[in-house]
């Protein structure tokens, strides 16, 4: 008698894993998972910071030693190369962001608002380039920059970065403009604006949350980028990510110095992210 009754009772309740938890248990489990994921991501950073604070003799015993020092930072910051690289990375990230936003805003707007052969061709071009793996661009770009005599200069790194940004971010920009009601621009055109005026004075200001999000993404992308910087620059234009890697050389691996440089590189990125994350979230939600 009781067996069918039990079967019925089980069938009536949702048989999921969460239903087995006590009330509120779902929330606890979620919190624990979130903490675990955060730890997983935070641990390497924590290890990096720890290593940067240890003397050269202690880097292989980071977890054991008790000796801490700021000498690594002193030493790294006294390298002219590192300072120069820091400046270059900052300048190139900022310039690439400004240039990219100028182009992606107009290109995204065109993709969103206009139909016809030119937007179609542009759309296809971006699409084709997007399909090419990022790594595959590097070698051709090396030869192109050599030919154009811009190898190992700002332009030699800026232009490839802007090109990548255009291909990746025009789509996101198109999405932002798709979310903005075009009748606002029509109203502006009736109110005395040209088509350009309507774009600059009405559509663009409305896209500011999206533009901010994109600016942050662009900046971080270039700041963190390694491959282009490695291949397309040499001694004239040192870039921080490349300089950082050069602490591994034929005479050994200076983990402490590398970590110190990495921590220095982390700071601007951290500031940008903390300042910008609400814009990124708001912008990408459009």
């Amino acid at each position: 008698m009781s067996a069918p009754a039990t079967a019925l009772a089980t069938a009536a309740e949702p048989a999921g894993f969460f239903s087995l938890l006590a009330p509120g248990g779902k929330r606890v489990l979620f919190a624990l998972t979130a903490v675990a994921v955060c730890l997983l991501f935070a641990f390497p950073v924590f290890w990096l910071v720890l290593t940067s604070l240890r003397p050269a003799s202690g880097v292989y015993y980071v977890h054991r030693g008790t000796e801490f020092t700021l000498d690594n930072f002193n030493e790294v910051l006294s390298h002219e190369l590192v300072l120069k690289a820091l400046f270059n990375s900052f300048a190139i990230s900022t310039l690439a962001t400004v240039l990219s936003l100028g182009v992606t805003a107009t290109s995204g707007y065109m993709l969103s608002r206009f139909r016809g052969p030119i937007p179609n061709a542009w759309f296809s071009l971006i699409y084709v380039f997007r399909c090419v793996p990022y790594v595959a661009w590097v070698l051709p770009l090396y030869f192109v920059t050599q030919q154009l005599r811009i190898f190992d200069t700002y332009w030699g790194l800026l232009l490839p970065h802007v090109a990548v940004h255009i291909c990746f971010f025009s789509w996101i920009m198109k999405g932002f403009f798709d979310g903005i009601d075009p009748s606002m621009e029509y109203a502006a055109m009736i109110d005395g604006c040209t088509r350009w005026g309507a774009f600059l004075r009405v559509a663009l200001p409305s896209a500011v949350p999206g533009l901010t999000a994109l600016a942050i993404l662009c900046w971080l992308f270039t700041w963190n980028e390694f491959l282009f910087a490695l291949i397309l620059t040499a001694h004239e234009t040192p870039i921080l990510t490349v300089v950082m890697a050069q602490f591994v050389h034929e005479l050994g691996m200076e983990w402490n110095l590398m970590s110190a440089t990495a921590v220095i590189a982390l700071v601007p990125a951290l500031i940008v992210t903390l300042f910008g994350q609400k814009y990124v979230l708001r912008g990408l939600r459009v």
Binding site: M184, Y186, M189, I190, D191, G192, T194, P205, V208
Partner: protein
């Protein structure tokens, strides 16, 4: 202040025609409503007047000047959009001032114009707010204000009330009507709502599939619809239609349906003459049908089975099956209790019959 003329205007997208050959003259200070179902070309026509759509053929004149190739900003028009299209990143005041600043109007004049418009529309307390802080009705007023401050030759309205809820829509309709008395500007108003068309328009243009069906005053359209489409579109509930065969005998026309027959004195419907031996679509408005037997020669009667009743409080609407057709009757005494399936006798005056071609 200006008249607007459309002369043989056409618009097609590729090979798909959106507006086929529309010719329309709108007089100075006249309020014309373009009405029709979605996709009938009414909005496209408005956008062509605004200059937001190129015209494929024909000419558009505003104030006697051909504007075919003029940019929207040079046409001296103002437009209210369905979703208001307020500049979200500006305050209400800046929204109102935008058009004037573009035209390099001195700030003192701009302030005066804004003050006047704000007074007319009672939006003075809202001037420093952002559009997103306003309700739908308030946003619509600001959009109207943006038109008024410019003092343009023509106002264009693209379904400005359709985003509002029913109650607010009725209120804004009244406000628009009042506004018209204070600000008399030539206006073109697009809507798919026949009530808006009837209440607001000096004249109404009914469109379907890119073709103008009829142009006339609200009463002309209601009383003398040019074809079956206009007849069914204007008036609520919609006009009833029956396909009947026409025969003539002894100075009378007889109209025969499935299992019933009317007789009309020939003098009452001279338009039936050429249709003898064929069929005709007879239309009658639900409001013109009365319950009971026909009284006298000028009324015709018919019998049907009651399907359902709709109680509206001050009247009842009946749906009655007569032969194959379903006939709606309006204005029935709300206290009358009628059960479904009851046989209903009804009559309508021959003056209130409309005759149309085809199915």
């Amino acid at each position: 202040m200006a008249e607007v003329a459309l002369i043989n205007v056409q618009k097609s997208y590729g090979h798909v025609p959106a507006v086929r050959d529309i010719t329309l003259e709108i007089k100075d200070r006249e309020f014309v409503v373009l009405v029709g179902p979605s996709g009938c070309g009414k909005s496209t026509t408005l956008r062509m007047i605004a200059g937001l759509e190129e015209i494929s053929a024909g000419r558009i004149l505003i104030g006697g000047r051909v504007v075919n190739h003029l940019a929207p900003r040079d046409r001296d028009i103002a437009m209210v959009f369905q979703n208001y299209a307020l500049y979200q990143h500006m305050s209400v005041r800046d929204n109102l001032a935008f058009g004037l600043r573009n035209r390099k109007v001195p700030e003192s004049e701009i302030d005066a114009a804004i003050a006047r418009a704000a007074r007319i529309l009672s939006i003075e307390p809202l001037l420093d707010r952002r559009p997103r802080q306003l309700s739908g009705g308030q946003q619509q007023r600001v959009a109207l204000g943006r038109c008024i401050v410019r003092n343009p030759k023509v106002f264009l309205f693209d379904e400005p009330l359709s985003n509002l809820d029913a109650q607010l829509r009725a209120q804004m309709r009244l406000e628009l009507k009042e506004l018209r008395q204070r600000v008399q500007t030539t206006s073109v108003f697009v809507t798919h709502d026949q009530v808006e068309a009837m209440t607001l328009g000096d004249r109404i243009v009914v469109m379907k599939d890119g073709v103008v069906q009829q142009v006339g005053t609200p009463l002309e359209l209601y009383r003398k619809p040019a074809n079956r489409f206009v007849a069914s579109f204007i008036g609520s509930p919609s006009m009833n239609f029956m396909m009947l065969n026409v025969a003539a005998a002894d100075g009378r026309f007889s109209l025969t349906g499935e299992d019933f027959r009317f007789e009309i004195p020939a003098a009452a419907a001279p338009s039936l003459g050429p249709r003898v031996g064929g069929s005709v679509c007879v239309g009658m408005r639900p409001q013109h049908i009365r319950l009971g037997k026909p009284a006298g020669d000028h009324q015709i009667g018919f019998t049907g089975t009651l399907l359902v009743t709709e109680q509206l409080g001050d009247e009842q609407l009946l749906a009655v099956r007569v032969g194959k057709s379903e006939i709606r009757i309006a204005g029935v005494d709300p206290d009358l209790t009628l059960a479904s399936g009851t046989q209903i006798e009804a009559a309508v005056s021959t003056d209130n019959l409309h005759f149309f071609d085809g199915a």
